[in-house]
Amino acid sequence: MGYTLNFNLIWRHFDKLWGGLLLSLELAVISIAIGVVIGLVLAVWYVSAGRVVRGIIAAYVEFIRNVPLILLVYLVFYGLPTVIDVAYDAPTSFVLTLSIYSGAYLVEVFRSGLEAVPRGQLDAGKAIGLTPWQRLLHVRLPTMLRITLPALSNTFISLFKDTSIASVISVPELTFGAQWINFNTFRIVEVYLVTTAMYLVTGYTLLFGLRLVERRFRAAR
């Protein structure tokens, strides 16, 4: 009776988890970087565009937000190559998916931030003779960044956790590493305890770092 914890087998295969964690981070960083570019460009476009463009961007955002990520992962990895002539490995496919996915969430974050920049600051930028592009670059974006930093941090952490979905297409990230050890050692409790701790520590470290950045850039009132 009773279950005796035995971590020995976990430590023996720890390289699967450690390598997995590094890959998870890599997937997250690349996807978020691409997502930030997508989000920024579309958000800036949205706030200055007409009805049609707004409609298209809103449709993209709504589509992504209402479809589970795991489904998008399957669609891009298994579905897309059968319809059009593309070939990519699983990690690339996942990065593509998570980039499009994070882009949609980040459009929303940036858009609400851009719209929250006080009108008076834009007037002040106009009054000293800045061109629209200069106003965007030197007034609107810096202020938007301060306003959105807390929401941005939360989105980043959330996207990091979403990399675990990559395990369903056999990308050897952290969750996949955990499953591999589970299948090969049957130490189910131990491996998921260790894996949970690894997500927790990494997520918390990221959050702590981002909060430090926020404090430095705290929006001036």
Partner: protein
């Protein structure tokens, strides 16, 4: 054209409506070089809108606004064709504006707020811009706050930075939009002192204010607006006289005295 006057700012028959509500009705006024013209009037009389039309932060439906003979928002001659955004930016650089709510850029220091226009619009080097910024911060009594962020400054200090930011660009005319209305009473004096010293230096100004004593002492002329139109214009003594024959002005001044004294 108003070739007979040497008006720096020439506002002619400007009208503007928000939907069916007329906010400006055939407003005409002139500001000569070195003059300080104050606009007073009840709230909702169109004072702020008029000021915002002068640097084309807002457009207007008809009439013309010229600075130094150049139409501000529209392409000459007398067309209703809006200038390009780039052109507008160039025109706006010729006017300075100070806002009721300061509107400093929160991510930039006091010096940085002043330097932004100098470097990006005037094309000055960082070092040169910094020097000009420090000069103007000295003029408004804030030399020691050059590296403070707006959030670290009091309202009065922020507004003085706002003034320094506007005048550092060497505008032809300075527009002051109720610049003391958002300040605690004890901070009003320090801001008005700066405006007074600029007036003494010959800066041309068009201001909207509720500070009647200041308007009386600092203005060359006072414009009284009511219901979107100019109701009376004249030297301070004449306009602020209690026995004026202008009905609207008399009741405005009476109400004003009752609530402020």
């Amino acid at each position: 054209m108003s070739a007979d006057t040497n008006a720096l700012l020439d506002v002619r028959d400007v009208s503007k409506a928000f939907g069916s509500v007329a906010v400006l009705r055939n407003v005409s006024l002139e500001v000569k070089r070195g003059e300080v013209v104050t606009v007073i009037g009840p709230s909702g009389s169109g004072k702020t809108t008029l000021l915002r039309c002068v640097n084309f932060l807002e457009s207007y439906d008809s009439g013309s606004i010229r600075i130094d003979g150049k139409e501000v928002g529209f392409r000459e001659p007398g067309t209703r064709q809006r200038r390009s955004e780039r052109d507008l930016a160039g025109m706006r650089a010729e006017t300075g504006m100070v806002f009721q709510s300061f509107n400093l850029f929160p991510h930039l220091t006091a010096a940085g707020n002043i330097m932004l226009g100098l470097t990006k619009v005037r094309g000055k080097s960082q070092a040169e811009a910094r020097q000009i910024a420090e000069h103007w911060l000295g003029r408004v009594g804030l030399a020691h706050k050059a590296d403070s962020l707006p959030a670290e400054l009091s309202g009065g200090q922020q507004q003085r930075v706002g003034i320094a930011r506007a005048v550092a660009m060497e505008p032809k005319i300075l527009l002051l939009d109720e610049i003391t209305s958002a300040l605690d009473p004890e901070l009003v004096g320090e801001v008005l002192a700066v405006v007074r010293s600029l007036a003494e230096d010959g800066m041309t100004m068009l201001m909207v204010t509720h500070e009647m004593a200041f308007a009386r002492d600092a203005s060359s002329r006072i414009v009284f607006m009511a219901d979107g139109g100019v109701s009376a214009v004249g030297p301070p003594k004449e306009i602020l006289a209690a026995e004026t024959s202008n009905e609207r002005l008399r009741s405005f001044l009476a109400r004003f005295r009752a609530s402020h004294f």
